[in-house]
Symmetry: C2
Subunit: 261 residues, 2 copies
């Protein structure tokens, strides 16, 4: 039996510890090819490179624990997936995994997430895909504590197939010296960011801003990703790229916009 072919990418860049950990975990399950950004791309959302060129380079990051092949790419996470599928991989992969991100992509963060944009891009192209994120921004974060869960989720995804039109958004709570308590299938919690702009004046006398903000949870449900994470569980949210709010179609059909004036 041939091993599954697993494409690994991320948004923190090809040398990020979270990606290196994911490569190690995936090598226990299949053949692994990495196509990942050559520099950090956090907050890029689903950006793609339309008006400039893309460069890739075959690299060896870690001789002992690295992937079968690795490519660094000048583009965004979504670019990496497009290039991997069209140009770099020898065949259609069985799975695309993105991450492990240094920082949460739960709740509304999924919208801004480069990690999830890579998984969603793969999903759009019909490849089963999972984004993994650890709720710890530190470069020294401990990814090993969730190792068995990550492998379990990937193995189950290869076995059961991910439902069509769906990619998985997996977030791992930060824990101290112990594994997460378990896994919960969740919905995305309602939340937003209460932005605060730190306004400053440049040496040239012009205003400029730094974006800062606080996460504001608007959802008390116990079936949400935020609840799971706050209670020590890994959250798995099935995430779709059909953005149609089907429930709103009837409402809008009541508007007076159908007749030409």
């Amino acid at each position: 039996m041939t091993k599954p072919l697993i494409l690994v990418t991320n948004d923190d860049g090809i040398t990020a510890p979270g990606l290196r950990a994911l490569v190690r975990f995936m090598k226990e399950i299949g053949d692994v090819i990495v196509v990942a950004p050559d520099s950090p791309q956090s907050g890029m959302g689903h950006a793609i490179t339309l008006d400039s060129t893309l460069h890739t380079e075959r690299v060896v990051i870690d001789k002992m624990h690295g992937a079968n092949e690795e490519y660094s790419c000048s583009g965004t996470p979504a670019d990496c997936v497009k290039l991997a599928l069209q140009e770099l991989l020898p065949r259609t992969p069985d799975l695309c995994v993105s991450g492990i991100n240094h920082g949460s992509n739960s709740s509304i963060n999924v919208i801004y997430s480069g990690t999830m944009s890579a998984a969603i891009e793969a999903g759009i192209e019909g490849i089963p895909a999972i984004g993994f994120s650890l709720c710890d921004y530190s470069w020294e974060a401990n990814f090993e504590l969730a190792s068995s869960y990550v492998k379990q989720i990937v193995s189950q995804a290869l076995l059961h197939k991910i439902p069509k039109g769906v990619v998985l958004n997996v977030n791992i709570p930060k824990t101290e010296n112990e594994s997460p308590k378990g896994i919960r299938i969740c919905r995305q919690a309602r939340a937003n960011w209460k932005e605060k702009f730190d306004k400053r004046i440049s040496p040239m006398g012009k205003d400029y801003y730094w974006l800062t903000g606080e996460f504001e949870l608007l959802d008390k449900g116990k079936d949400t990703d935020e609840w799971a994470l706050a209670n020590g569980y890994i959250s798995v949210v099935p995430t779709q790229f059909d953005l149609t709010a089907h429930h709103a179609i009837d409402d809008l059909n009541q508007w007076n916009i159908h007749e030409q004036e």
Copy 2:
């Protein structure tokens, strides 16, 4: 009665003809403030600026037909909305409109769209929001043919309120010397892009790529945005930012991932 306050933004940049047209149309309905990127941001998806500074400048683009106030911003469309709401507007706006984009944002294009990311950002922050796009990439595109429809949709949105958690993705077909046939409330058609990378070799001997591709419609439904546009109608898709695939939660609960090994 005070006039509604309307925030106008886009992803093609503050001088784009599509934005200038939208400003003219909105001035017939309310007070208008523009906060838009100082340069084109197409394909930026829902990118935000996390690791560098943001600059804004009060500008006058068009003395006669311009907005009440206009600000150009160094950031992405989502940044513009965040800055507008937190720093630049005198009060919470009654509506945010984004566009009119030079080019389609129908179907799967919504995922990559800077135009729609601005509308979605406003929606996340609780502001009624609509993205407008014309299926004509030309800088000389005729935005006037859809003028009465655009104003009708905006007036109805102000009157009926847009359902909570929903923003509108409005696409306008390219027509020759006549207005679109009417408006259809639609769902997002299933589709993807068949990428082709144009691979070249630089003067320094390195491979590089240009991203090109063809839109591939995978959906024969007559209730989709692609059907509406192909048949001369304006499409209105209610679009949500809760990405949870609720129908998939039961499926995933059958997976063997709930017990710790």
